[in-house]
Amino acid sequence: MNFFLTIVLDGLIQASWLFIVALGLTLVFGVLKILNIAHGSFYALGAYVAASAVTMVAAHGLPPGVGFVAMLLAVALIASAVGLLLERGLLKMFYGRDEVVLLLVTYAVFLIFEDVTKLIWGVNPIYATQPYELFGNLEFAGLYYVGYDLVLIPVSAVIGFAIWFGLNRTVIGKIVLAVIHNEEMSVSMGVRVNRVYAIAFAFGVLLAALAGALTAPKISIQPGLSSDIIILSFAIVVIGGLGSVEGAAVGAILVGLARAASVHLMPQAELFMIYLIMAAVLMFRPEGLFKRETARRI
């Protein structure tokens, strides 16, 4: 029983930050129909900026709590600014062209960001562990859990709920949903689609960066982060269904649990398990677990 609980808890901890990243990716796909390969780069950006913020705050002798808040603020500001700039300044130029073109553009952005982060923060790993101690430790079912990790679960649940509420219960949210489901119709109803694009994109990458910031205290921040994250979040989004918020949640939980289970039961499978699930979903239910979209040919 303990064993089972461990897996569930580990899985949920992982799922919590995976969900935030995947949510951003699926939102951007849903609204702009762009598969943003640079999404992982924003995660990395969030982690790096968070590390810098935490380090700077610590250097001024301020307590870790301040560092935590500072990093979240810094990341939120910088990520949304960069995101807006990117969408309005670059991506917009390619709207209207074949959708694969945009894929390539985001791939180019991914490449560029890779080196930009190396130039700014260097190639060696950096750390920002101070916030990790903020919530103490917890003993549960005979194991020690870091409070920070456990706190992530409700935090991401709140974020998920907030997004769901925002989309389904507010006017702006309904407008965004309208653009997701039928863009042409929205345009003809007078929706300022360009604005929706800009906001959705900035928000989507903000989520990625936020996830990066939240996990920064737990990981070693180094080049290669973005390429690992994008492929992982892409798998989650495909499993859950491209463009589906519920799908991102379910996908994240599934992947988190699968990973936790693998680690404890069959470590060799830890990495490929996720992609196996992704392949299986693509073969038998290509639209994902939550979306309706034709995929097979005759």
């Binding site: 073109v101 180019a108 992609y275 992704m278 693509l282």
Partner: protein
Amino acid sequence: MGKNLHPLVMIALVAVVTLFGRVLPTWTLSLATIAASNALIALGIVVLARTGNVSFGQGLFFAAGGYGVALIANAWGLTDAVAQVIIGAVCGGLLGLVIGPLIARYSGIFFGMLTLALSMVFYGALVKSTALGGSDGFNVGRPSLFGMSFVDPREADFMLYAVSVIVTGLAGIAASILFRSEFGLASLAVRENNLRVEYLGISANRIISINFVIAAIFAGASGAFALMAQRHIDPQFAYWTTSGEFVFVAVLAGNQSVAAVFVASMALELVRSFSNLYLPNTWQLVLGVFLLSVILFLPRGIGSLWIRDRHSRKGTAVGAPAAPEKGAAL
């Protein structure tokens, strides 16, 4: 659909380029070898893309070829370069034969995602496989040719260069012939309207599978080349960014001519080399900017690879009007 050079002229070209290697400085030689190998795998992507399906997971066959050759080379002491290329091609081809028919049924974007997923499954398995060296991989010895071993690095480099240029050149010639053939035209037809192809009594899936196997064979052979050049194999061969780079070359080249693939591949290597030399840690930056410029100024090199995507989805191209009507009206 491409310059119609006579096969004999193309063979002569390959011979010339091979011999030219004699006078090239060593750094260019290594560069050209890598470029030829990358061009081979990119060519496979172009072949397959003509059916409207882009593979984002050629790393799977690239790695399969590389690991297959490496294991056999270490187990049986097989070092002959030509034999290794053949083994690589066969490894890729066999795997392609298994996977191709399974995924040929899926349309454009899902096909791409499946190839990506499968390559990452392989990557994940390789990283955790202690028997194969895990994420470190393992080394192999120097290749030989027809019983001759090459101690002088200059000779060894030239041998590898020659083999890769000749093999890739021959593949290019074969591809040109294929593109102009009945099968090649049918492949384009599959991209344009796979429904109509079926109504004409032709199996679209079969055409896609065959093109897929060809791409897998090229990728496996390329894996063998990469192995011979680096004398090392590791799971990175199957990682998505590796597959991404090959797609990059294919995209840069467009689908107008086979020669463009070689040019694009060489351009990529030159860009990478020069930026590493003068501005370390920037080759990806330069590449990214390069890609953006091509997309902006040379759309034919890009869009033509996937001009017609079969299904008319609402609102897919952002801001674009709905795609023209397709499909039997109900």
